[in-house]
Amino acid sequence: MIPIEHYYLVSAVLFAIGLAIVITRRNAVLVLMGIELMLNAANINFIAISQHAGVPGQFFALFVIVIAAAEVAVALAIIIRVYRHFKTINLDEVNEIKD
């Protein structure tokens, strides 16, 4: 049986990678993918803990997946609108809130 720490480690690495993508990439689609990574890192944690401690975590994992799917649908739609409007999906250039 694989000790729980390993799951944690994978999950943390995955989360860190996702976070790094979200923070550093300029491309909105890549940022979206970073978020997916972070969500999945969370999913790993849910499933691992449910298996290990016997709490019903899969249910949350399924929930997250559904949400993520919906989120991607909405986010992509927004990105398309942003692209149509700004002719770019570079987040640094989409900063209308400033001036």
């Binding site: 976070l19 979200v22 923070i23 550093t24 940022v31 987040l91 640094d92 989409v94 900063n95 209308e96 809130i97 400033k98």
Partner: protein
């Protein structure tokens, strides 16, 4: 107190007559001021007629009071609080004699003026004012109440103002009129204050009541207490006497207020005769005789000394005048001094006696002088000569040209100087003896300084003889000094001569006393009641001793005065006789020695007053107007301007601070907003970093 005495007293026939005699001159005033100019002559004749009536009535009144009865009518004039002010007529012997004197001389002056003033453009005005004057003068004599006396007193001053200023277009006349009134006013203020003391003390101004109230008051220690218990410091008793005396000082031209009378000679000569010699100026003497019973010893002594001093000063000033009327004016001052001295030394009867004799001979002198002036005027007019008809330097030798005038002038001069057989001798002798007797009595009480009064009085006798001798010699003797044709200088009309002769007759001693050497034989003095003085604290016995002394010494005094008169005449003959150097060089006389200047300028009183009173007063007045402009108004303006400036400051404060605060809050909120906004710069990833870091921070904190 004494309220029962203030009940109205019914009218008697005599007081009714007196009222008519009083009203006639007023009627004359109204008639003459209201008449159409065309009827001016008729109105003036009517005025003369009124005066005839008035003097006839006075004569009837005189007959009725001759035996010593008095008549008093009184009614309430107005009521104040619980006290009534009364107005009424009071007639006793002195009063009746005085109204006769005034109406009679006024009549003569009216008659004289119809000729003297006939070519004057102000003829009608002149007669109106004569009427007004006579009315006011009669009012003083008949009134029973000090307030009413004061009313007429001021009216007399007013009519005198109008008459002195008759030729108002001449600047000196205008100035003289103003001066006369103002100087009189100074005296009148004293009079008012005297009245005020009596009022404060007795609550009445009725003279008869005052006399009773005065005798029922007493001196208790330092205070003067009435029977009603009202107390004043005794100084106010003296103050009251001196106050009323000040009124007399003004009106009767006594030192120090005598300066107006010489200037008043700018008025027409008949006016000078009537007002400024015979009657008005004598009003002061009459008033003092009326109130003498209210005066205390200190006041009386001041009056005596003032009178003596004025007699002396006036006589000195008369010595060197060139104006024929000015000599007479100063002489009048001097003689009035005699009269007031008489009042002060407790011989009011003698004072009144002198007032009477003086009124006639001085009126004669003035009117004769007027006749001289008139004649010279006519002469100048006829020959187209230009010279001052009043200046004695232009006269001389008029004896032959104006015989009637000369004789009357001579008679009146002898009366004035006090030569036996003439009226002045009697009255002056009475005064001189009284002054001698008084100072003896006072000296026996330890007041040796009182000898100054007879010394003044006797010196004045010599001086009078000198200046009158000088005047007669310079005017009537020698040669006419003005160069001109010999013809055309002649006596004036019969009316003028008639008036002069009548007045001349009254200057003879025989009219006044059958024994021309003894004034005690005079009918006049027997009519004069000896005043029973009732002032508390007055040493009546001194005055009684004085009277007794006077009786004893009058023969000696008479002799001395005759010697003094001869001395004076001798001196003036020696100095001013026609061929003497003075008379020869008189026409072009210029240079004066200091003493002569002192006399000529009337002791330099005018410049003195100008420097001591008028100039300081004017600088006070200018200072007041500067205070007004520079301080009070400046303060107001500065306050006004200051408040505008303050308003600007407030406005600035409003903009800078109140508005500034509001603006600052807005500005601050804005800055805060900008600061807050600076976090929202649109880098979505930075937000995420912040969010993550914050989350980590929170987790760390929780853990």
């Amino acid at each position: 107190m004494a309220a029962d005495l203030l009940t109205p007293l019914p009218c008697s026939n005599i007081t009714l007559l007196a009222l008519i005699a009083l009203m006639l001159p007023l009627l004359s005033f109204l008639l003459n001021s209201g008449a159409v100019a065309r009827y001016a002559w008729q109105a003036s004749i009517a005025a003369c007629f009124f005066m005839v009536l008035s003097s006839l009535i006075s004569m009837i009144i005189l007959v009725h009071v001759w035996n010593g009865t008095t008549f008093h009518t009184r009614m309430t004039w107005f009521v104040l609080g619980e006290t009534g002010h009364t107005i009424g007529l009071f007639i006793d012997n002195p009063g009746a004699l005085m109204i006769f004197l005034v109406t009679f001389i006024s009549l003569l002056v009216h008659l004289y003026s119809t000729q003297y003033m006939k070519d004057d453009p102000g003829y009608q005005r002149y007669f109106a004012f004569l009427g007004l004057f006579t009315f006011s003068m009669m009012g003083i004599l008949l009134a029973d109440n000090l307030l009413v006396i004061f009313v007429f007193w001021e009216l007399v001053g007013f009519s005198s103002y109008l008459l002195i200023g008759h030729w108002y277009h001449q600047a000196p006349a205008a100035r003289a009129a103003k001066k006369a009134f103002i100087v009189n006013r100074i005296g009148d203020v004293g009079f008012i204050l005297g009245i005020a003391v009596l009022w404060a003390q007795f609550r009445t101004l009725d003279l008869e009541t005052l006399k009773e109230a005065m005798s029922s008051s007493s001196i208790q220690g330092e205070s003067w207490v009435t029977s009603a218990g009202i107390a004043l410091d005794t100084r106010w008793l003296t103050f009251m006497g001196l106050g009323i005396f000040m009124g007399a000082v003004g009106k009767s031209a006594q030192f120090p207020l005598q300066v107006w009378l010489p200037d008043a000679m700018e008025g027409p000569t008949p006016v000078s005769a009537l007002i400024h010699a015979a009657t008005m100026v004598a009003a002061g003497v009459f008033l003092m005789c009326r109130v003498v019973v209210l005066l205390d010893m200190d006041a009386l002594s001041v009056i005596a000394v003032t009178g003596g001093l004025t007699a002396f000063m006036g006589a000195i000033a008369a010595l060197t005048q060139h104006d024929i009327k000015k000599v007479l004016a100063y002489s009048t001052i001097s003689q009035l001094g005699y009269m007031l001295m008489g009042v002060g030394i407790g011989a009011p009867g003698a004072a009144l006696f002198h007032l009477f004799t003086h009124a006639f001979f001085k009126a004669a002198l003035f009117l004769a002088a007027g006749s001289v002036i008139y004649a010279l005027h006519q002469y100048a007019h006829r020959h187209q000569l230009a010279f001052d008809a009043q200046d004695m330097r232009n006269m001389g030798g008029l004896r032959a040209k104006l015989p009637v005038t000369f004789i009357v002038y001579l008679v009146a001069t002898l009366a004035l100087v006090g030569v036996p057989m003439f009226s002045g001798f009697l009255s002056k002798d009475a005064l001189l003896s009284a002054s001698f007797g008084w100072s003896e009595a006072m000296a026996s009480e330890g007041h040796r300084w009182t000898y100054i009064v007879p010394v003044f009085a006797f010196t004045t006798v010599v001086l009078t003889a000198i200046y009158m001798g000088r005047q007669v010699l310079l005017v009537f003797f020698g040669e006419l000094r003005i160069k001109g044709p010999a013809d055309g200088l002649k006596e004036s009309s019969h009316m003028i001569k008639f008036v002069l002769v009548v007045l001349g007759l009254f200057s003879l001693g025989i009219v006044w006393s059958l024994d021309p050497f003894d004034y005690h034989a005079s009918w006049f003095l027997t009519l004069m009641p000896i005043p029973a003085s009732s002032v508390p604290g007055l040493e009546v016995f001194v005055l009684d001793t004085a009277r007794a002394n006077a009786l004893d010494s009058h023969t000696v005094v008479g002799l001395i005065s005759i010697v003094l008169v001869l001395l004076g005449f001798g001196f003036s003959w020696f100095k001013y006789r026609p061929r003497a150097s003075y008379a020869l060089g008189y026409q072009g006389r210029a240079g004066f020695s200091f003493l002569e200047q002192l006399s000529f300028k009337n002791w330099y009183l005018d410049p003195l007053y100008r420097r001591l009173i008028v100039n300081p007063l004017m600088s006070f007045s200018r200072a007041a107007s500067r205070t007004e402009k520079a301080i009070i108004d400046k303060f107001i303006d500065v306050t006004g301007v200051g408040s505008v400036i303050f308003a600007h400051i407030v406005g600035w404060f409003d903009r800078a601070f109140v508005d500034g605060f509001v603006n600052f809050s807005v500005f601050f909120a804005g800055k805060v907003g900008v600061l807050a906004k600076s976090f929202q710069y649109g880098k979505i990833q930075n937000y995420i970093i912040l969010a993550v870091l914050s989350t980590i921070l929170i987790i760390l904190l929780i853990l």
